[in-house]
């Protein structure tokens, strides 16, 4: 860029401000020595997400972007959605890198390193290698992961199928008992953190389900370990996520089973791309490969988890058949798709009308919370994703510059790729996933039963907004 603008020399050298790097949080690092005070992060946080965790402090030459009383992002009302990172043009905001932890474990012969990839990674990873936005690179991604040296490459989509089984079951039960309705989804850790900080009184409305990668981690370290005679202590689960809040979620105390983390490390789409580049793998030339079995089998319902409305659609497909016992003919629920901030729909299931809502972006999530608080929520099931557009636009996804964001419908293209994966799937309902059926039968019992609850559910704790 310097060459483009013919900046070959700095004519006006002088004092520079120095800032301490804030890397206290498990998700975000703020290095304001790189900041140019363009304030896109401030605008995103305040106007899009309606959080306002960061703004300008001090004045004049000393001004910088920071938090309330200049505390660490970790200790204020930041939800770790990471949208600020996506808007930052200079890299002053970035995820806390975990690449080196992963490299170290890959090199260790005694550790059985398992990787799982989130639904929305595969439609974005290619962008980091110059491919069209919205290119589905599932095969190349799996191939690259195998070349990086992971012992097993599994699909978080299988975890997503577990989530649907548990969540749909929980919803059907709560709907029948009219227990804390509306029930909201809980797969988004940014959203969970937001709710814990700002709406502690609404926490009973959250589904108790863990998010897909946590569920999947727990299954790997229990069922899979047992079945393959591996000591779970030697298993190291890496999740590749479109999200930086997942880095925070992973180390929450509730995400431990028998003293072992469900997931040991979370890296973002960008970090995975960096690893592939570090390994000098020519990504675009890779042959397609498939996920390892048996935990690589997933449904079309799970595939759309990463786009706004996707979790709702997947849950409805299963809930419909759970309630009515009949086969759902038309699988697409068009009303919950699309980019509208707060989508509402009425679904006829058997003799019951179920009203549902889908919110994406924390600004819209706040509306849902206010509705619940004021008792004006006229829906009984809500899907919430903290990032506008859902996980496909998560804070760990490839960064698109403002020009592209203005001229190209990035969310639309990535979403279309996800829906086409669903369409092409042979099994499109979570409860029909054969591997799930097998694990429930052999190990977990029925969805929502004691064992499943122990492994696949969690709980929430109210949190002070400012812990300073």
């Amino acid at each position: 860029m310097a060459i483009k603008f013919n900046v070959l020399d700095i004519e006006y050298k002088g004092e520079r401000t120095e800032h301490k790097i804030d890397d206290k949080s498990p998700s975000i690092v703020r290095d304001f020595n790189k900041c140019i005070l363009c304030r896109r992060c401030v605008a995103t946080c305040k106007n899009v997400q309606k959080i306002g965790a960061i703004d300008c402090i001090e004045r004049g030459f000393e001004s910088c972007i920071s938090t309330t009383y200049d505390h660490s992002l970790n200790d204020v009302n930041c939800t770790f959605c990471g949208q600020c990172i996506e808007s930052c043009p200079t890299g002053a905001l970035h995820e806390k890198e975990n690449i080196n932890d992963v490299w170290a474990k890959l090199k260790d012969p005694d550790t059985y390193v398992v990787v799982q990839t989130a639904p929305s990674i595969r439609v974005a990873l290619g962008e980091e290698f110059g491919m069209e936005i919205g290119t589905n690179v599932t095969g190349k991604m799996v191939s690259a992961l195998k070349r990086l040296g992971f012992d097993k490459v599994f699909d978080t989509n299988t975890g997503a199928d577990f989530t649907i089984m548990e969540e749909a079951t929980e919803f059907v039960k709560r709907f029948k008992e009219n227990d804390h309705l509306p029930m909201t989804t809980s797969c988004c850790p940014g959203w969970v953190r937001f709710a814990e900080m700002e709406y502690p009184e609404n926490l009973p409305h959250l589904s108790s389900c863990k998010s897909p990668h946590q569920m999947f981690g727990a299954i790997i370290k229990s069922y899979y370990a047992e079945k393959n005679n591996i000591d779970p202590k030697n298993i190291y689960v890496v999740s590749v996520m479109p999200c930086i809040a997942k880095k925070y979620e992973r180390q929450r105390e509730e995400m431990k089973e028998n003293g072992l983390w469900d997931v040991d490390s979370v890296i973002t789409t960008r970090e995975l791309a960096r690893m592939i580049k570090q390994a000098n793998i020519e990504f675009d030339k890779l042959e397609d490969e498939t996920f390892d079995n048996p935990m690589g089998e997933a449904t079309g319902a799970a595939a759309i988890f990463g786009v706004t409305g996707g979790v709702m659609e997947a849950a409805l497909r299963t809930a419909y058949e759970l309630i009515t016992g009949e086969e759902l003919k038309k699988l697409e629920f068009e009303d919950v798709r699309g980019t509208k901030g707060l989508k509402k729909a009425t679904v006829q299931i058997g003799d019951k009308e179920i009203k549902v809502a889908v919110a994406h972006g924390l600004g819209n999530a706040r509306k849902v919370m206010e509705d619940i608080k004021n008792g004006t929520a006229d829906y009984s099931f809500v899907e919430v994703m903290a990032c506008p557009g859902g996980c496909i636009m998560g804070g760990g996804q490839p960064i698109k510059n403002s020009k592209i964001r203005m001229t190209v419908d990035v969310a639309g293209k990535r979403a279309a790729a996800m829906y086409s994966i669903d369409e092409r799937s042979t099994i499109r309902k979570s409860h029909e996933n054969p591997i799930l059926k097998q694990i429930y039968k052999e190990y977990l019992g029925n969805p929502g039963d004691h064992k499943a609850h122990e492994l696949l559910h969690t709980h929430y704790t109210p949190m002070e907004e400012y812990r300073i």
Partner: protein, 618 residues
């Protein structure tokens, strides 16, 4: 108060009672002792003077004498000031101990206390305020009530035609007629930029919106400026009345006064004034029995200079960080909470009621072709009569500095005058005869600004002056846009380099280039005008910059690193005083030898210069 008749009744009754304030031949046995309670006099114990007068009068059982607190008289250099009416005796630099003598001699015995009279420029003692040269060339419109009425008594304001303009507007005029009058008067914004006030009112009225606001900008922040402060302290009701008139004209029902918290007296008096006006039914619902509603709220600013910029001020009122918005849209279209908002400066408002009462033609007859009316200046720096002056537009700088201001003290030479604060520029000697109005000041590289006028004598270094103003803008920049945030800092660094003797000619070139770029690319008025002090000093005093850069010399010796102190051997009488006073023993020579300064040891403290009885050192 429900009707105009009630207002007229108070005026008629009070006017007779207060006739002596303005009429030296008033037929009364009463005497009013007016004690200035402006900020300057207050800090020189004028509240104690007020108390002493009251106490002594009570102790002695004197009748028919009232002690009144007033706003600023203007001649702050001679404060605290006490005036006794109706005879209009002007006592300067009064101390609390003088009260006894004034009462005994002036009030009881009828003899003027000569000792406390004020000396005019020619050295003669002057008894009456109106006879002082300081006041002769002034014309008081905005300051008409300052020093005349008690600012904390609404009745006194009403007595001198207060709220009569409001009554006229509400009963006899349409909003369009009001705007027409203001427009025809030629009144322009007194905050600095000089935008035609009528046009602003018109734009706000024409803007679409259910809700509109009227805002008073009282965030006066230029170093050395205290015009708005004095108006608010001396005549707060004038601002309230004008805001109501403006509210009626543009269709607003709510007004905000944004005033800095550093003006406690002004805030206090505004609060009292608003309270009194509400109690009288002049503020609030159905004002004077009409269906016009208007209320005013005070918002305190925390003292950021940039909040004087109108859009930053609006941000601050809304409760956010004071940062300018990008214009357009202008506040008239989208201001407070996105509603059309009229925003004027205190002094602008202070002219409004009088324009309504005396007519647009009267107002436009004062001043120059493009700048009508008067302008208040806060005169400061190296000038004898530091204080507050109000002169018709078109008065020359020479008249203000030498006639009203009484010239330069200590027999020094006039070097330059600075107008417009950190946004303005320097006016050198050769432009002393420029008539002051918006256009002519702009033409010579300065600007009207809000009215700070700082006079500098020949001991002032112009590079240091530019540096001073840059220091100010650097610390007051909000940090929103890069040219102002980083550019002004770089300019300051170059100026510091020049002052410390490390500058080069190339630095002057860099400085100039940067100045032009910052002017062109900053978002708001603060940044766009921040380089002005540099540009104007470079324009008129380039040689001085060159001396700093090339000859490494600061003739005024303000830049310590560049000062060369030498002893003139022809003048030195070898008395040795300099030697004895030098703190670092840098002066060499013994007995009857002519002394000589060792430049390696000299720290340029200038003690020797002051110690030399023969003016041989410099």
């Amino acid at each position: 108060m429900k009707t105009v008749e009630e207002l007229n009744k108070i005026r008629a009754e009070k006017r007779i009672e207060l006739d002596l304030r303005k009429n030296t031949k008033a037929d009364t046995r009463e005497k009013h002792i007016l004690v200035c309670q402006g900020t300057g006099c207050t800090s020189s114990k004028s509240p104690q003077i007020l108390e002493n007068f009251k106490r002594i009068i009570k102790e002695k059982g004197i009748e028919n004498v009232r002690v009144i607190k007033t706003g600023c008289f203007g001649l702050c250099a001679k404060g605290p000031i006490v005036i006794i009416r109706p005879e209009d005796t002007f006592y300067a630099m009064v101390t609390p101990d003088d009260c006894e003598e004034i009462i005994q001699s002036h009030i009881i015995e009828g003899k003027v206390v000569e000792r406390l009279l004020c000396k005019d420029i020619d050295g003669t003692k002057v008894t009456r305020l109106d006879d002082l040269t300081f006041y002769k060339k002034q014309k008081r419109i905005a300051l008409k009530n300052c020093g005349v009425i008690n600012p904390e008594d609404i009745d006194e304001y009403i007595a001198f035609d207060g709220y009569r303009a409001l009554a006229r507007v509400l009963i006899e005029m349409t909003p369009d007629e009001v705007i027409e009058t203001i427009d025809k008067s030629g009144l322009r914004g007194r905050g600095g930029a000089g935008f035609p006030t009528g046009k602003k009112w018109r734009a706000t009225k024409d803007a679409k919106g259910d809700k509109k606001y009227v805002v008073c900008n009282a965030d006066e922040g230029d170093p050395g400026a205290f015009m708005d402060r004095s108006i608010l302290e001396g005549d707060p009701h004038a601002v309230l009345e004008a805001m109501e008139i403006a509210g009626f004209a543009v269709g607003a029902e709510k007004g905000y006064i944004y005033v800095r918290a550093e003006y406690p007296i002004a805030v206090q008096r505004l609060k009292i004034a608003i309270e009194q006006a509400r109690n009288y039914g002049i503020l609030g619902k159905n004002i004077l029995g009409t269906d016009f509603n208007f209320d005013i709220e005070i918002r305190l600013g925390a003292g950021a200079f940039v909040c004087g910029e109108e859009t930053a001020l609006l941000e601050s009122i809304e409760g956010r960080r004071g940062q300018p918005r990008v214009k357009p849209p202008y506040p008239a279209q989208s201001g407070l909470w996105g509603c059309p908002t009229l925003i004027n400066n205190v002094e602008t408002y202070a002219n409004v009621a009088q324009i309504i009462l005396k007519g647009a033609d009267w107002y436009s007859s004062i001043g120059t072709a493009t700048s009508k009316g008067t302008k208040v200046f806060a005169l400061g720096g190296n000038v004898n009569n530091v204080g507050l002056v109000e002169v018709p537009m078109g008065t020359t700088l020479r008249e203000i500095v030498f006639d009203i201001g009484g010239g330069i003290p200590n027999g020094r030479e006039f070097k330059a005058a600075q107008t417009g604060g950190p946004s303005g520029g320097c006016i050198p000697k050769e432009h002393l005869d420029t008539p002051i109005d918006y256009e002519s000041l702009k033409e010579i590289g300065s600007m009207m600004g809000s009215g700070g006028l700082i006079v500098m004598d020949d001991t002032k270094c112009m590079v240091c002056l530019a540096k001073f103003y840059l220091e100010f803008t650097v610390s007051e920049s909000c940090g929103k846009c890069t040219p102002c945030r980083i550019g002004t800092k770089r300019m300051l660094e170059i100026l510091e380099k020049l002052c410390s003797g490390e500058g080069t000619e190339y630095d002057i070139y860099r400085l100039e280039k940067l100045a032009v770029n910052i002017k062109k690319s900053s978002i708001c008025g603060l940044g766009q005008s921040a380089p002005n002090p540099v540009i104007s000093t470079l324009k008129y005093f380039r040689e001085e910059f060159r001396q700093h850069a090339i000859e490494k010399e600061c003739k005024t010796m303000e830049c310590k690193a560049l000062a060369k102190i030498e002893i003139d051997p022809d003048k030195c009488k070898a008395c040795g005083l300099c030697q004895r006073n030098c703190p670092v023993n840098a002066i060499e020579g013994e007995g009857r030898e002519v002394r000589h300064i060792n430049q390696d040891k000299c720290i340029k403290c200038t003690t020797c210069i002051r110690a030399c009885p023969f003016h041989a050192i410099g």
